[in-house]
């Protein structure tokens, strides 16, 4: 018998400290598999966010830097411009990318920086204890909107892919989900394309991954995956929003 899913060498062989059922582990694995497949581990530099994935540098077996909250695209820009031979990715959550880091995200897309952004959207602030994020759904309960997010008080959720698609500089934007196994396979394809774009010097590429936060949603991991499919996907439709071929 043969092992058909060897652990990627771009991932350090240690258990992850994320909560049970958290999507971060899945996306970490996908990025590591892609680094192996494209043989870019030796020249990849990752930017870890502030959020649960602040520990990402402990798990990825490549050069990593951890930046201030939301500044991932700015740091990635600096690395890419000073060392263009490096493959640079920024790994960010929704509180990081869509809130405090919105300016950095929008402007790096407008400048069409040749970087790859992996945006994990779980509609809540995870690490800090489940506060409302810009991506929290209307009616969704969080610790800072215990009665559910309302338009009158909190406004509408931000759809990052749709927003960035208005910018000419954004070359590749896709939204996928890791709530089901087929979704994970599609996510891998999207992330691989985002890395390949950078190798081909296409410009700004971002993949938004709809992920789960069962702990802060107050659900089991299986209920969380169902929440993504039933509640999040209608608000955040999956698909390609910008592609280099357009």
């Amino acid at each position: 018998m043969k092992l058909i899913n060897k652990k990627p060498s771009s991932l350090v062989d240690k258990p992850m400290r994320y909560c049970p059922g958290c999507g971060h582990g899945i996306v970490h694995r996908l990025i590591a598999e892609i680094m192996d497949e494209l043989d870019i581990r030796e020249r990849t530099v990752g930017v870890a966010p502030v959020g649960c994935a602040v520990f990402a540098d402990e798990y990825f077996n490549c050069d990593m830097i951890q930046g201030p909250h939301g500044r991932g695209p700015a740091i990635a820009t600096g690395i890419k411009r000073s060392k263009p031979e490096c493959i640079v990715f920024s790994y960010q959550g929704d509180g990081d990318l869509a809130s405090i880091g919105m300016a950095e995200t929008v402007h790096s897309a407008a400048r069409s920086e040749n970087i790859t952004i992996i945006f994990i959207n779980n509609a809540i602030y995870g690490m800090t204890g489940g506060q409302m994020a810009p991506t929290t759904l209307l009616g969704q309960i969080s610790s800072t909107c215990p009665a559910g997010r309302s338009v009158a008080v909190n406004g509408y959720p931000i759809k990052v892919c749709e927003m960035l698609a208005q910018l000419q500089g954004a070359r590749y934007l896709e939204r996928t989900s890791v709530s089901t196994a087929p979704g994970v396979i599609k996510t891998k394809k999207a992330i691989k394309k985002a890395f390949q774009n950078q190798i081909d010097c296409v410009g700004f590429s971002m993949v938004e991954v709809l992920s789960t936060c069962p702990t802060n949603w107050g659900m089991t991991p299986v209920q969380g995956a169902r929440f993504v499919d039933e509640k999040m996907t209608p608000i955040y439709p999956l698909g390609v929003y910008r592609s280099p071929e357009q």
Binding site: M1, P20, G23, V184, P221, V222
Partner: protein, 67 residues
């Protein structure tokens, strides 16, 4: 015969693999692992086809697929 092997020190008992398996051959163990979770196990050895969907959804790289 294809099979999966679950690393009990990594598995956090999230049960995502149970829902991912179309043939329903994965179940949760009835005893605690050393990390304090009920880990997944291959309950029906004969029905596993080695499709690897459980390993795709596993957030903790706890499942090895042998074929």
């Amino acid at each position: 015969m294809p099979e999966i092997r679950v690393d009990e020190t990594r598995c956090k008992g999230c049960e995502l693999c149970v829902t991912a398996c179309n043939l329903k051959c994965i179940a949760m163990s009835e005893t605690f692992s050393v990390t304090g979770y009920y880990p997944a196990k291959l309950a029906k050895l004969e029905c596993c086809t080695g499709c690897g969907l459980c390993a795709q959804i596993c957030p903790d790289l706890a499942i090895e697929v042998w074929k």
